[in-house]
């Protein structure tokens, strides 16, 4: 899914908080009250292209694969698939066996309201739905050009009035009731990651047929939870209940050494989900979320930037006040990068690498880190974040501005060489950003930094959809934005600079470098190998030196959790985590008194 997050959803990145009402603590069963920081679009997998929507979708729907909850680095494991697929020698044919006896939840869409068994054909249907030209699924980019015959199928029905799902697609077949076969048009090493993303999750055609346009609000899945009363009412509070027909899925008994040591295997072998209901509250503003956490109505919360100093005074350890309440701090790096993109359609930026370098040098990343990320983010040297192959350890980009006076001198020199001594002759540069307070402040900061070398910047705030539209229609000069990983592969970041991916694709800046394009084309079809890593690093270096964007930072998430919340771990791919979380009710009753 395309998870561009606002440049400053910083800590809101892990925007799920658990609320847990003290009053309700004594009702039957365990309740996990969570909250998210953004509106949810709906419950249809093919439209879940932001983190918040896809997380909600993943409570109800499931895919063939998922990320192992307790393994790092991130490892794919079978979910609805019986096992990992058999891959043909040429790497183009993937054959999956699907688990038997998996039932769709009971719903009026099925005869007598009883959910039927999931079969391979359901995946064929669901993925065709993603490709359906009439539905305009937002995740189509993921499979565009990847599966044999699917593009042709899509193209054919673009012009015809109705779409025929019965027509067979060469690369997408159910061989029998439980066998599913994909044939790829070209090698796509990230294909398996795609199958762990909510876009490709299984939906039931009966439900699609019954609810039609309203399917968005009538989720019918195979997953651990079902929405209460079966209808998503687009409210600020979403209630899920345990799906009674959920299969025997067990809490994992293996974990990375670190998690094992932390005792995260206590629930090993227990049937999932571990709680009876999940309540998701949508609370968009930081402060109400924070207050809810402090009252124990929220089980975990990311620390708002402005509360950071009081909560984590030395930037490492929790303040004694919070420790005494049994609250834990969990710090983990996010797979993301913030950046200021140039519009490379403009001659001004396209042909003038020195101008870009000058601007990048003038941008003091250290101060911005201090002002906006409590000095806890990692200044980005290039596009690929630490933690995935392709990131170059200890590499320092020669054009990474750090606020030193020498760099300022160099920046001014480069600006003069670019043809704009002291900024003379340069038009006013507009900087577009989303309209939240912090993104505006980041814009003002950018303006200030550029003023140091005589470049005049105008900051314009836009509502999020408006900004996206401006980028797609190339109606921008420079804009501030961020990218969070869809899957743990540098390809997901480097594609942002791949020429043919230009808007409306993911490359919003329209950067087009023949050398980088050539390398990307080669690397994109390679399986994970040292050679591919070398290529990734090479591209990463080009991306640093050519300064297609001014890089910002790789953020870290700081999450606080209450003592009674069990099994919580930070994850960049947190779709489906609610099933693993557990609540210690007794402890909760006791600890809430201390708050």
């Amino acid at each position: 899914m395309k998870k561009i997050s606002f440049i400053l959803s910083i800590l809101a990145l892990v925007g799920l908080l658990g609320t847990s009402c003290t009053k309700k603590a004594d009702i039957k069963g365990k309740t996990l009250n969570m909250a998210v920081s953004s509106q949810v679009k709906g419950m249809d997998p093919i439209y879940a292209n932001d983190r918040y929507s896809s997380n909600e979708v993943a409570r109800i729907y499931e895919g063939l694969l998922e990320y192992h909850y307790l393994k790092r680095p991130y490892t794919l494991v079978p979910n609805l698939a019986e096992a990992m697929p058999i891959v043909s020698k040429d790497g183009l044919t993937y054959t999956f066996k699907i688990k038997k006896g998996i039932m769709f939840q009971n719903d009026a869409a099925f005869p007598e309201g009883n959910g039927r068994e999931l079969v391979a054909e359901d995946f064929v249907f669901s993925i065709k739905r993603l490709a359906d030209p009439k539905l305009q699924g937002l995740g189509w980019w993921l499979l565009d050009g990847k599966i044999t015959g699917l593009n042709e199928w899509r193209k054919k029905y673009t012009e015809l009035p109705t779409v025929d799902y019965e027509e067979e697609v060469e690369g997408l077949k159910a061989l029998d009731r439980y066998t599913l076969q994909f044939k790829l048009a070209k090698p796509f090493p990230q294909f398996l990651y795609a199958l762990a993303m909510p876009f490709t999750f299984a939906v039931a055609k009966e439900a699609v047929a019954k609810y039609g346009n309203e399917f968005l609000n009538h989720p019918v899945g195979t997953g651990p939870f079902a929405i209460k009363d079966g209808v998503f009412k687009q409210t600020k509070k979403i209630t899920y209940v345990k799906n009674p027909t959920f299969r025997e899925k067990k809490f994992p008994c293996e974990a990375s050494a670190k998690f094992e040591k932390e005792g995260l295997l206590a629930d090993c072998g227990k049937k999932l989900p571990l709680v009876d209901r999940v309540i998701v509250n949508i609370i968009e503003e930081d402060q109400p979320r924070w207050l809810n956490f402090q009252k124990g109505k929220v089980e975990y919360v990311s620390v708002p930037k402005d509360n950071f100093d009081t909560v984590i005074p030395d930037a490492k350890n929790l303040s004694p006040e919070y420790l005494s309440k049994g609250i834990d701090l969990m710090v983990s790096p996010s797979l993301d990068v913030t950046y200021t993109a140039f519009n490379h359609d403009l001659k001004l930026f396209k042909d003038n690498v020195k101008l870009r370098q000058a601007m990048s040098l003038a941008y003091d990343v250290n101060t911005s880190n201090k002002l906006f990320y409590n000095n806890q983010a990692i200044p980005a040297q290039s596009v690929v974040p630490p933690g995935i192959a392709g990131h170059i350890e200890n590499y320092v980009s020669p054009y990474r501005g750090n606020g030193s006076p020498e760099q300022l001198v160099q920046a001014k020199k480069l600006l003069a060489e670019a043809g704009y001594p002291e900024g003379k002759g340069l038009p006013e540069i507009t900087y577009d950003c989303p309209s939240s307070t912090v993104t505006r402040q980041i814009g003002e900061y950018f303006k200030k930094q550029m003023a140091k070398i005589g470049i005049n910047v105008k900051v314009t705030q836009n509502p999020w959809p408006e900004l996206q539209k401006k980028i797609t229609t190339r109606n921008v000069m420079a804009y501030g934005i961020a990218w969070g990983a869809d899957y743990p592969d540098a390809e997901n970041f480097l594609q942002l600079l791949y020429g043919p991916n230009k808007a409306p694709g993911a490359n919003g800046s329209g950067y087009n470098n023949p050398e980088l394009n050539r390398l990307f084309k080669v690397a994109a079809v390679m399986q994970d190998s040292p050679e591919r890593t070398a290529l990734y690093e090479k591209m990463n270096r080009i991306a640093a030196e050519e300064v297609p964007w001014i890089y910002g930072v790789h953020r870290q998430s700081f999450v606080l959790k209450h003592s009674w919340l069990k099994n919580f771990v930070n994850s960049d791919f947190d779709a489906g985590i609610a099933q693993y979380l557990n609540i210690d009710k007794k402890m909760k009753i006791e600890m809430v008194k201390k708050l």
Binding site: D286, D306, S435, A451
Partner: protein, 288 residues
């Protein structure tokens, strides 16, 4: 005719006397005057032209050195507040003038001519006023692009309806009065009757409305800027309050305090002034 002139003169004179005799009004007027002078000095660059300069550490609290403290970038909150005064006053003035121009022109035409002209204009004004204000403001801001111009236009083009209604009503009332008939009798044209004869008799409404419009525009500008639709790149009380929304969690109250205090004082002053003007100018309230 002569008596008429004398009367109107004494009305203004009388109003002035009554305004000056009330201490609260005098204070309110002085405040407005001070704000205007500050705005004028700031717009000519004589004061706070360096508001964007970093003068100390980020979020320094108020002290003898930093009156009102500093903001996230170490800029003086005092300087920002003063600079924002310029924006607020200019928005008040420009939208006030726009409102008067549109409201008075259309209102007098509608009221004076009546008939089809009136119907069309009334239809137009009811249409404009039936659209929720904030929606209209947002859409205008989107059309003309964000910035000061958008604020001027969006406020000016949306808030004339109240004045239009009043002026139209007054014109309907006045147009058949004897002094207008007399003007017709001696061959006065429409233009002359509207501007020379009727308008001076309803002008007190314009003045009162202008002063109330002024403070409404200031408040609206703050709201627009708070929502990110207002001025861009220069301080506004609205953006300062928006900043403060997050800063309060750190215990930084000074930006909020400075912006709200500055706004409160001027809005209150305009309200008091508007009230006093009405008391002084409205013939119906005279002697009460």
């Amino acid at each position: 005719m002569a008596t008429n002139e004398q009367e109107s003169k004494s009305l203004w004179h009388h109003a002035w006397d009554s305004l000056m005799s009330d201490r609260t009004t005098v204070i309110a007027m002085s405040i407005v005057l001070i704000y205007s002078v500050v705005a004028l000095l700031s717009s000519t660059g004589l004061i706070v032209s360096d508001w964007s300069k970093e003068v100390g550490p980020s979020y320094a609290p108020p002290s003898s050195e930093f009156l009102f403290g500093l903001d996230i970038f170490g800029r003086s909150v005092f300087a920002k507040t003063v600079k924002a005064t310029e924006i607020a006053m200019s928005v008040g003035l420009v939208t006030g003038i726009l409102t008067v121009l549109i409201g008075v022109t259309l209102g007098s035409i509608a009221g004076y001519y009546g008939g089809k002209v009136d119907e069309v204009l009334v239809w137009f004004y009811t249409t404009v006023s039936s659209i929720p204000g904030i929606m209209l403001l947002i859409s205008i801001a989107f059309i003309v692009g964000k910035g000061l111009l958008a604020v001027y236009l969006s406020l000016g083009l949306t808030s004339w309806t109240g004045l239009f209604r009043l002026i139209r009503g007054e014109f309907i009332r006045h147009k058949d009065r004897e002094y207008v008939q007399a003007a017709t009798a001696i061959g006065g044209g429409d233009f002359r009757k509207i501007f020379k004869h009727i308008l001076p008799n309803v002008f007190h409404i314009v003045i009162i409305n202008f002063s109330l419009q002024f403070q409404f525009a200031i408040k609206s500008e703050v709201i627009l800027s708070y929502l990110g639709l207002g001025v861009q790149g220069v301080p506004s009380w609205g953006t300062m309050i928006n900043d403060a929304k997050l800063e309060l969690a750190r215990g930084n109250w000074w930006q909020l305090a400075a912006a709200t205090a500055a706004m409160m004082v001027v809005v209150l002053a305009f309200n008091i002034l508007g009230d006093s003007l009405r008391d002084a100018l409205d013939p119906k309230l005279k002697g009460k």
